[in-house]
Subunit: 196 residues, 2 copies
DNA sequence: CACATTAGCTAACGACCGCTATAGAATGCG
DNA sequence: CGCATTCTATAGCGGTCGTTAGCTAATGTG
């Protein structure tokens, strides 16, 4: 019992459908993406969507998780792989403009703007939590560098982390407004100059 | 003809109602603010709202205009009143954290996030245009300082303007996430360090 | 007073929202 | 085959969206 393959098999590729949902949420945000939009884009009926993904909120949560792994996870990668916090910041600042303006993908960042204008408090809180987690991770790496003497003793870790992530939010928003990659790269080059 | 006071007089204060509408749009954005929300908050019926302000889009446009004069115009003021672009940036960076976290007012900035998540292309384009205008105004002042030798010859005016305004977008978003004024002030203090 | 003019109220329109009951189609198992 | 199980398609639920028609109320003008 609790067998694996009983009954009629699913007639669509769940992963491919999820990827399409990710792009739709990415482009329009949670609120402006309707279930009808999703069923149309995914090429499936509403009941199939609900069977496969739960409800709209659960689908969004899963989209967020996969987005963060596949598209938005470059921040965690930089924090993990670079030796110093400043090198991580430099790498994030170098990569973000391209990430936020990829051809064939929506501009900006789902985690920055996905909850924009939704009255759904749970969705907004979820995204805020993800953003806060990223700030905290950056602050941790900064603190480690302060402790090791890599960064000056007076450095305000939390504020420098907020600075860096706010800068990313800002250029993600600019990307949505149509600012080009090369210009965003000039902006982040300036931004790195504020680092101690 | 085209007389001033004919017919039944309006039973509510139009300016006060507009101010309430501004705050509602500011808090929730264009899309998430329904006409019903507005009529409830403004204490008037829907037909009165439509008579006094046109439709929802026109009301939003008027809210934007007045917001920019009363709440968001500190950027233009700084550009006009400060001698140098850097002094203007310093003033904007000093003022913005308080502006974005005023007690009794919504957090963040209507012009930054008012169009968030709306499928209404006209509304989005309108706000984008306002944002672009502000970037351009900043870039103009930077260019003047480059011409006068106040700023180094190699300074990228457009990018420095984008940097400054993206930083403001970023902290406006952070303010919406609940980051406090004092922390935002530390962030903008860091941000000013990137200026030449 | 009668009348034109303007505002307010009730109620509703058609369209869309997220979601689902119901019935039929496709599979594995016996 | 017959049957349980699982997915799909149609159609529609109750609710909200922005907006407005139709009527009443309140004003200035004659």
């Amino acid at each position: 019992m609790a067998s694996t393959t009983r009954g009629r098999p699913r007639s669509f590729d769940r992963d491919a459908a999820l990827d399409k949902a990710i792009r739709l949420f990415w482009r329009r945000g949670y609120e402006a993406t309707s279930v009808r939009d999703l069923t149309k884009e995914l090429g499936i009926g509403a009941p199939s969507l609900y069977k496969a993904f739960g409800d709209k909120r659960q689908l969004f949560a899963e989209a967020l998780r996969v987005y963060d792994e596949e598209y938005g996870g470059f921040i965690e990668a930089a924090l993990a792989e670079e030796r110093t916090a400043k090198q991580a910041a430099a790498r994030v600042f170098a990569e973000a403009p391209a990430r936020y303006t990829r051809r064939g993908l929506p501009a900006g960042c789902l985690i920055v703007s996905g909850d924009a204008g939704t009255p759904d408090a749970k969705v907004a809180a979820h995204l805020r939590h993800i953003r806060e987690t990223k700030v905290a991770a950056f602050a941790d790496k900064i603190r480690a560098d302060i402790a090791s003497g890599e960064l000056p003793a007076g450095t305000e870790a939390q504020s420098l982390a907020h600075y860096t992530m706010s800068m990313l939010s800002g250029i993600a928003q600019a990307a949505r407004d149509g600012v080009h990659r090369t210009e965003l790269e000039r902006v982040t080059r300036i931004a790195l100059g504020a680092w101690p």
